[in-house]
Every structure is written in structure tokens, then in C-alpha cells.
Amino acid sequence: VMMAAGLCRAFGALLLSAAPRHSRLPALPCASPLGLPPCLPGAVLAAVRRGLGCSVPRCTTDPLWKCRVKYTVRPIGMKKTGGRDHTGRIRVRGIGGGHKRRYRMIDFQRLRYEEGAPPQPFTEKVINVRYDPCRSADIALVAGGNRKRWIIATENMQPGDIIKNSSHIGRMAVSANEGDAYPLGALPVGTLICNLESHPGKGAQYIRAAGTCGVLLRKVNGTAIVQLPSKRHMQVLETCVATVGRVSNVDHNKRVIGKAGRNRWLGKRPHTGLWHRKGGWAGRKIKPLPPMKSYVNLPRVTAQE
């Protein structure tokens, strides 16, 4: 009995997609987001019928460009905010202008299994590592099984490497290679990690900037304590997944901007020139480390028991 879901190749077939949605590929009929307004801007409707091998528009004016549900490797056009919030007034000063950027959807959840794949450790191959205009780190295109995705590259990641993603915590610590993703309970104490999650399955939210790394300090019961780049200690469950190594683009903080124009290309507007006398907020402060941040809900142990 053959599988019901066949795999089809249509190089020349122009499959018209029924949903009037961003379709870079001849879209699957089931990929339609929820809550899309009935009238779309013209720039989006023009992108419905496209051949293979095409790219999307360089930028959109669609305010809902962030609402894409289906993951794609292709870069998407972004809309710049200019520091303005939903009321239209400036909320953050000094943002505006700058080169147009296209957003590449990065998968921060390393352990995302493919549809229909068993929840077992799997490997992926790095295809290429490139600059991302939206962040300071470099991104890497990895492919495994039937899908490709972008992830944050670690230092010394070369095209052609094989990286491993695992969720298994064994009794002995794994000798991890750079770029692999393991839960914190499986890593030896003292490894440099990046792309840390606070809760298992949430997706990496910490240690993502260029050249940063956290250190796994100790493992206590079922939790692990990590030192973040700001020297703050963080306690998380040991099943949270992190990647091993430092984030790529290590010399990012050593670069020299060189001229005012380069800052404008990055989208930073100049500061005001008005001279203020600085108050109590300015100057170097020396104070003890803030207490350890714990993302673990421990049952409260009462003294009587």
C-alpha cells in the first residue's frame, strides 16, 4: 500500500494557489493563516503567481509581514518601524533610515522535529554560513531529512559540517562538539554554550549576540546554573537545550565604524547635540552581583517536614 501523501515535482506546472497569500513557491493549498484581513495591499497580491527560483519583493509595506505561519527558508521583505509604536508616535529615539533588509526566518528551537519524525537525536549538515543583516551574528543554513532551516552559526562553523541535536540525558556527560545542541543535563560542567532557553521547548532567547558565550557552572538536582555574558547567574531546568560553542562573528565588537555614514546605513539616527550636565545615573558603578535568576518552580519545602 503506497503512502497516501505522495511527493510531487512540478518544475513547469504553475499550480495556482487558491489562497491570496504570500506564495513564494507554488503554495500548498492548506497554508493559510488565521485572521488575515480580506483586503490585502496590492504588493502582496502581485506576489501570488510566481515561478520557481524567484525571490520575494525586496520590502513590503504590509504591516502584517510578521504574521507568516509557515516556515520558509527564503528571505521575506520587512517593514521598518522607524522607532514608532502602534500609536504612530516615536517611542524609541534614534532609529530610522538605513539599508533595506530582508528577514530570514531563524529557527531558534533546535530540537524541532520534522513532521512525522520520531523524537530521537538527529543530525543535520551545514550548507552555508552567511551574514544576516538583522543581527550581529552570522546565520547558517542547515539541512536534515526533508527540510532546510536557518540557525545561528557558532564560531568555526564551516559549510559541510555535521551537527547533532539530541534531547537525551545520559548518566555520563557527553563530550560535545562545537555547534551541537544538547540539553544542559548532558553537558559537562564548564562548557561554553550559547542559544540558551529559559524553559524547555520555548526556543533560544539568551546568548544570541555575536561572540557571546555562557558558562555552565554547576548542576544541582534537576537544574543547571549558567553564567550569562553579563555575569548574571541563571538557574534553569536541565532539560533546556543549548548549543555548544561561542556565537559566530567573534570580532564584531572590535570593528571600527569609521564614519557617521556607516551608522546611518545601520539605521541609527544621530543623537541630539544639546549638552546636558549628567546626574546621578552616569558614571561607573561598583555593586554586588544581582541574585541568581531562577526559572525553575521548586515546590516550597516547609520547615516542619
Partner: protein
């Protein structure tokens, strides 16, 4: 396709051989099979396509690519003065192909309306000898761990498997020109991202040639997977107006479920330039004409191969 020809090879269970097969090469070398002053005629055809076709200064690729193709086919048909059996061919444009096969428990399909198919009354005789076919048994298909070979293919729910060659309906039985001979692919989109790169074009050619051969095999020998005693040969030529890819595909077996056993064969001759550059306006630097308008780097061998593939099967 992600890995190009290598992935197409795994999907169609094929072994690759560089260069064109010996029978085709012998046609090329035989001087009796050439047109008189064919070089001059080919250059005139290129000039027609690249320079004279439109009222604008330089015609765009979507104009000149089909025109060049028509001219080259016309030149090939002039040979039918010597070989009358060449008239027993027909061209089908906008033809639609759909063929399905199963490959290690995954159902694959080739569907599409792409390219131009040329059919003939008589099939092309098998190109590889029996020993070569048996020798493919030891060849191991390369896999790309950890990438699965079905990456980058669209997933579609299959309601009905179709094996057709033809337009909306299959070519009716009893149609005199029933054997697929050559498939032509013209990459004529204007913008470069819309066109296929040479590697991807070769992969596409391989898949469509395989689809045509498989459909024909199912018509002739039924739907059971087995090794064919009379292998089916389909050729394909792909071009973007300047670069030509030639391919001869021989279907030896329809038993595609397992990865062992006899494999199909393909001979690929890739990246043959017909000419290096066609200058429409003379290039002028500092008021001195450095490069007058014309065609540079013309290679007659490419047209000889084109002609040889056309004549193959009747000569």
C-alpha cells in the same frame, strides 16, 4: 533540486557517464552526416536570433531563445534531404507529462507542462551494450546523509496516479509517432533568478527524460516493475540561448523500489557554449571601436552534437 544531478540520480536510480555515448560520437565524426557550409548557416541563425529579430537594439532572452531553437531545428530538418526517414518526426509543444513511480516506499511523481517533445515513429536503439548494463549492478547510488534525497520536493496528496504522455489526454493508441525521441528545454525567462542554473537544468532534464521513458515503458510493458530487455532511450537538450546541455538517458529497469540491481544510465555533456558573446552594439572605449558588433567565440562542435542527437536513431 537541492543537490542537482546527484539527487536526480538517486531518485531515478541512474548511473552517470560523462560525455556522449559512442554511437552519437561516431555520428559526429562521420562527415557524411554534415550539412554543407553548416558553420556559416549556424552563424547566420545566431545572428538572426540575437540581432535581427526585433526593432529594439538587443532582443531579450524570451525572444531570442525560441527563435534560435526554431532555426537550429530547421537546419537539422534540412538533412532530411539525405535521409527521408527523418520526416517521420513530429514536435509537440506545451505537452504535459505525468509519470509516477515508487522509490523505497516513497511515491514520486513527475508532472508538468514544460519543454517541447519530439516524437518519432521508430524508437531509438539502445545505446549501451549488455555488459555495460550488467556492470551497473555493482554501482552504488550515493546518498547524502543526513539529508534525505527527497528534500526540496513538493508534497502533494495523490488522488489518482496518472501515466500519460501527451496533451490533456494521452496520445491515443495507434498514434503513428509514439516513441519519445528528444525533449527540449528552453530557459527563456528574462531575469536571472527566474531561470534555472545549469546544474538545476541538468537535473530537470534528467527527471523529465526519465518521466517520458517510464511512461512509454508502462505503455509497452505494463505496470509491473521489471528489467527491460529492450531498454528505452530518450534524449534531451536544454539551453538558455547560449549554453547547451546534452543528455542521453537509457531506461534499463522499471524496478525502482530497491536501490540494488540494474540501474539506468545517463550520458551527460554539459555546458557546451555555442558562442562566447554576441555583441549587439560595438563596444567603444575613448572614441575608438575596440569590439565591433558580431559573434565571438563560435564553436561549431556544439551544433554538430545537436545535429548528431537529432539524427541519432535514424542513421
Amino acid at each position: 533540486l537541492f543537490q542537482g544531478v546527484r539527487q536526480a540520480q538517486w531518485l531515478t536510480k541512474t548511473k552517470l557517464v560523462e560525455g556522449l555515448p559512442p554511437p552519437v560520437l561516431s555520428i559526429i565524426d562521420n562527415p557524411a552526416h554534415q550539412l554543407e557550409d553548416h558553420e556559416e548557416r549556424v552563424q547566420r541563425a545566431i545572428s538572426h536570433a540575437r540581432f535581427w529579430e526585433t526593432t529594439e537594439v538587443a532582443p531579450r532572452r524570451e525572444h531570442y531563445c525560441p527563435v534560435l531553437f526554431e532555426d537550429l531545428i530547421h537546419l537539422c530538418r534540412l538533412m532530411s534531404v539525405k535521409y527521408p526517414s527523418l520526416t517521420k518526426r513530429m514536435l509537440a509543444r506545451n505537452y504535459r507529462i505525468s509519470a509516477t513511480w515508487e522509490r523505497e516506499s516513497i511515491l514520486l511523481q513527475v508532472r508538468g507542462q514544460n519543454g517541447i517533445l519530439m516524437n518519432s515513429m521508430a524508437p531509438i536503439p539502445p545505446v549501451a551494450s549488455k555488459e555495460e548494463i550488467l556492470a551497473t549492478e555493482e554501482h552504488v547510488l550515493e546518498t547524502f546523509y543526513p539529508i534525505s534525497p527527497t528534500i526540496d520536493l513538493q508534497e502533494v496528496n495523490v488522488y489518482k496516479e496518472l501515466d500519460d504522455t501527451g496533451k490533456s489526454s494521452r496520445f491515443r493508441d495507434g498514434y503513428p509517432y509514439s516513441y519519445p525521441h528528444t525533449v527540449f528545454f528552453l530557459e527563456s525567462a528574462n531575469i536571472r533568478p527566474n531561470r534555472f542554473r545549469p546544474e538545476q537544468l541538468r537535473a530537470k532534464m534528467l527527471m523529465f527524460a526519465f518521466g517520458n521513458a517510464l511512461a512509454k515503458a508502462k505503455v509497452l510493458y505494463g505496470n509491473d516493475p521489471k528489467v527491460l530487455e529492450q531498454p528505452i532511450v530518450v534524449q534531451s537538450i536544454g539551453t538558455d540561448g547560449q549554453l547547451f546541455q546534452f543528455m542521453v538517458f537509457q531506461l534499463n529497469t522499471t524496478d525502482l523500489v530497491s536501490s540494488d540491481g540494474i540501474k539506468n544510465l545517463v550520458w551527460i555533456d554539459s555546458d557546451q557554449n555555442l558562442y562566447e558573446k554576441a555583441q549587439c552594439i560595438p563596444e567603444i572605449k575613448k572614441r575608438v571601436v575596440t569590439k565591433p558588433a558580431g559573434i565571438y567565440g563560435f564553436q561549431p562542435d556544439t551544433f554538430k552534437k545537436f545535429l548528431a542527437l537529432y539524427l541519432h536513431g535514424t542513421v
